[in-house]
Subunit: 408 residues, 2 copies
């Protein structure tokens, strides 16, 4: 397998300076699950009083760790908690062996960290269909537990990477009633799925207190506007997991607090954008804004039809302001559209309106926008006030290289 | 724009020897709509007594010719009929000008061929969003009418090509009650859509008589098992049109005749396969068979999820028996699946069963199958008796070349 090691041209300058989140400590280690010469397992331990929420892939073939996490979430519990993530092997489509691995790991983590096993969450990312060598991970747990540190989040972000070309983090500090509250999150993902590897994983921590049921609701709502609005290649992983943990260690209750919601939403959006910016073979980051749709739901369907269209994505790679393909994608989406009410912009350039190319349109203007690295396509349906924004990247030879040619 | 002129490696040896269909005559000409040095318009005139049926793209942004054809079909009518098709310009997303072009052309065809304008059908394929120079087409109508010939179908197939790398035809002759009945069809399409061009067009003719309402029903049913079961890139054209004309000139009534249905279905499947074999950049033809699904509809959803997955298609291009990606596609499809009841075969090689890789699986065996040009992937869901078969091609650098790089 060829290694894709070049940093994405869309990557941020470096890993951000994340604020410390009181109530959670991190450690990472090299367990040798599949990779050598790098860390591949991370442990996070959360103090008692932590609310934990999660959203997961809706795939019908989801992995054993996902099924285990889903069975443990819900209900009110504020015992201490732990998250153990390995890279290199996804423990997906591994039959009953997969469940055994999850049990062995969660039991060992519970024993060593003194966290109830019902509050030990795991995730695995990497090759599908091979048994997870869980013994290698279990042998590292004492070392991990001894190394737990409030400042270990950046190393944790590196330990969970597979074919990611950069580690992804985002954070925020805000004042609530004169008290500082912090949020810090990490993500991995390079496309919905990478060569033989699956998964987007996201872990976000805050020292605010948020009641368990409100935390889950908040997470679900914000996920719909952030991670559920990105696509690299329309393929959905068997292991996607996003967990949000509120330790409460700041002593501040941020339940239903609007500024906190805003700050958390920004962190999630930043992480989601970073995943797109590390999309397989990506050379352009594209924001697609839909307005005037019959409903918000219709707007998202149109946005995703454009974002997932191979013909739109290849046109973007070719720096071609090919609005005919945008019209095609809207037409096929299945959501309401009226050909003669559509208007389409590339950047600020009005391309098409009233069912035809705009009389003032000059292709040079749109072509100039397409040469940039961060692009926008705006479509107004002219029907009602439904809107949505989604994000994607282009489809390039790099995607084919990574996904077809890696055996060469 | 780079011209893609290399014949697809999956193309048949040559254009088939099609039987003559009494009651329909063809002509083609070079009108210079966009291309030079080749024919780009074809006319077919059908004798009185012909039943005409059609199915069209469901795109919400469908072209003016499609809307015109849809308004004319239905109801019982057996006047003479005409079909006029041009390549080079799709007359799609051309506002009110598009409707005017259709009216001008259909009125002129009616006048020159002496066919009622309500029975003149048109289609246009090529660039989107540019006004159709209908005068160029109208100027050729007398020449076309004078050249009408029973044997002109192969030239007609060539006149409607855009970026197709080969002309597509299929036919059958059968005996019904001791009488010969013929079927001949032509198609164009090279992907659901080609560089700046749209459209799959299919025209099928038979000299059998079939009552109008039964013909439409037959066409719709057979389309669901043939053309609606192929995909090149998941993108739907704004102009897809399929018309079936039964002239009745054989004097044989084939209404509800099972052998006729079988023969017609074979012709349609052959043409559909030829479209996939001319898929943009295709190097592999792939049959995907789904069995054991909860319903036939679910089976088709699973089949299309596999056939449209960029990760499955790039794996096929890389000759990689990547069954993990097949599991992923089944999981994301939204149709019912149970991870632990799935079985997957590449060719005859059992790859996965009981939620994991098959104990007897040797990757060399599956890898050997993947080196072929005609591949099959079979999935049994193990749930009930729903089944479907769909066809696709791989996703290669050629697709990116055609759709992203053609401005270079």
């Amino acid at each position: 397998m060829a290694k894709i090691t070049v940093r994405s041209p869309l990557a941020p300058a470096g890993f951000p300076d994340l604020p410390l989140v009181r109530g959670v400590r991190f450690a990472s280690a090299a367990a040798g699950v599949r990779y050598s010469g790098r860390t591949d397992v991370m442990l996070a331990v959360l103090d008692a009083g932590t609310s934990v929420a999660g959203v997961f892939t809706r795939s019908a073939t989801r992995s054993a760790p996902v099924l285990d996490c889903q069975s443990k979430l819900g209900g009110v519990c504020s015992d201490s908690a732990a998250i153990l993530v390995n890279s290199g092997n996804s423990n997906a489509f591994t039959g009953h062996f997969g469940q055994t691995s999850v049990q062995e790991i969660t039991n060992a983590v519970a024993r060593i960290t003194n966290v109830p096993v019902g509050r030990v969450f795991t995730a695995s990312t990497g090759v599908i269909g091979e048994p997870l060598p869980h013994d290698k991970i279990i042998r590292k747990l004492t070392e991990l537990n001894d190394a737990l540190d409030l400042g270990g989040i950046e190393d944790a972000a590196r330990a969970i990477m597979t074919t990611d070309t950069f580690a992804k983090g985002s954070g925020a500090t805000l004042d609530i009633d004169g008290q500082p509250v912090t949020i810090a999150g990490i993500a991995k993902g390079s496309g919905m799925i990478a060569p033989d590897m699956a998964t987007m994983l996201v872990y976000i921590f805050t020292d605010a207190h948020v009641a368990q049921d409100r935390l889950q609701l908040l997470l679900s709502e914000l996920t719909d506007k952030t991670f559920n609005c990105i696509t690299v290649d329309s393929d959905t992983s068997t292991s996607d997991s996003l967990m949000l943990c509120a330790t409460g260690a700041s002593g501040v209750d941020a339940t239903d607090h609007s500024e906190f919601r805003q700050a958390l939403g920004n962190v999630m959006l930043d992480l989601a954008h970073q995943v797109v910016r590390d999309g397989e073979g990506a050379s352009k980051f594209v924001e697609i804004r839909i307005t005037g749709a019959a409903s918000d739901a219709d707007a998202k369907i149109h946005g995703m039809a454009i974002a997932n269209s191979p013909l739109v994505k290849t046109a973007i790679a070719g720096e071609d302001p090919n609005w005919g393909r945008v019209v095609m994608a809207i037409g096929k989406s299945g959501a309401a559209a009226d050909r003669d009410r559509l208007s389409i912009r590339f950047g600020d350039v009005l391309v098409a309106e009233n069912g035809w190319v705009s009389p003032d349109y000059r292709e040079e203007a749109a072509a100039a926008h397409m040469k940039g690295q961060d692009l926008s396509i705006s479509v107004d349906l002219g029907l009602s006030d439904g809107q949505a924004t989604v994000w994607t990247c282009d489809l390039t030879h790099g995607y084919i290289d990574i996904n077809a040619d890696y055996r060469s």
